[in-house]
Amino acid sequence: MNVIIVGAGNIGSSLTSKLSDLGHRITVIERNSKAVSLVPRGRVDSGAITVIHRDGSTGAGMLEGGISDADVFIAATGKDSLNGLAAQRAKTIFGVEKVMAVVADDDTRILYESLGISTINKATLASDRLVSVLIEEA
């Protein structure tokens, strides 16, 4: 699948690595050129991951990231409302089927879920990981 991920912070980069491991084609859109150090360098060099330095919440940034061919759009910046705006643009304006947003606030998570946006919760992600580690160890 073609996956666009906006934001290359901790969550964006870790999602990038995992989805790339599964064989998906990833385009990371990150405004700050210094903030992509967590994206696996080798995959970028081999072309499996594309990195674009634009504002991925804007229509122009999304188009440059190939939104018209995207199967999945994930907004993973550090700001809930920006992730919500970007996800709604991807869904409403560009018609992307599967749209996800990283959200920290619980009320905001409920709002976006009600709009058909899947949410990824920072805290839940961490606790899920903890639980799976504990289960593996047990």
Partner: protein, 221 residues
């Protein structure tokens, strides 16, 4: 009416003050304690500190009993989120938001914001009106801004001069309301009315067709 304004900055503060003068009950929410302190000094205890996207803060600001919420922060993302949170959590009757980026006007509109104020459109409308050549004056928005009443002054050597109204290919939905001649006489906008030099045309125009109408009427030979 009780109104919640989110964002007490360049737009929110003067808006609060003018709505209070009009007799409304107003409460302002802003994340910056300095902004809140300054509003309290000038307008009384009508502001509180809190995040635009926090349901708790919206509740503290009285969103549950507000007739409308107006989002005026510098962030389009926050303006959209605060309107949507207010709508879903407090069933607020009317949400109004500023869209700083032009592309966000459509998105806000389609995302359930009741009234979108495009900052760019406002500036452009004022600039267009201020330009001396072929003036376009936006007289009044109509029907939730989907249409507008405009006045367009025709140039002396325009391609429209000498033609009848029916010969002009007006944009779909445009209604000519009145024609005012250079001498200040009005003439009815019948289909056989002939356009003359320096006529001023008053039209009811679908907002997204106004630029096309203006171009059609002011195109030079």
């Amino acid at each position: 009416m009780y109104l919640v304004i989110v964002g007490g900055g360049k737009v929110g503060a003067p808006l609060a003050s003018s709505l209070i003068n009009e007799g409304h009950e107003v409460f302002v929410l802003d994340h910056d304690p300095d902004v809140v302190a300054s509003l309290q000094r000038e307008l009384g205890m009508i502001a509180t500190t809190g995040e635009a996207t926090s349901v708790r803060a919206l509740q503290d600001a009285g969103a549950a009993r507000a007739g409308a919420l107006i989002a005026t922060t510098d962030s389009d993302a926050d303006n959209l989120a605060t309107c949507q949170l207010a709508r879903t959590n407090f069933d607020i009757a009317r949400t109004i938001a500023i869209a700083h980026s032009p592309e966000n006007s459509e998105l806000f509109d389609r995302s359930g914001v009741d009234l979108v104020v495009s900052a760019t459109d406002l500036v452009l409308a004022n600039l267009t009106t201020a330009l001396p050549a072929h003036p376009l004056i936006r007289l009044m928005p109509v029907a939730d801004r989907s249409q507008e009443l405009v006045a367009i002054k025709l140039p002396a050597a325009g391609t429209a001069i000498g033609r009848t109204l029916s010969e002009l290919r007006l944009p779909y939905g445009t209604k000519i309301v009145l024609i005012i001649t250079a001498a200040g006489q009005s003439k009815p906008p019948d289909s056989d009315a002939i356009i003359e030099t320096e006529d001023e045309i008053i039209a009811l125009s679908p907002t997204n067709s106004t630029a096309e109408l203006w171009k059609l009427l002011t195109e030079l030979r």
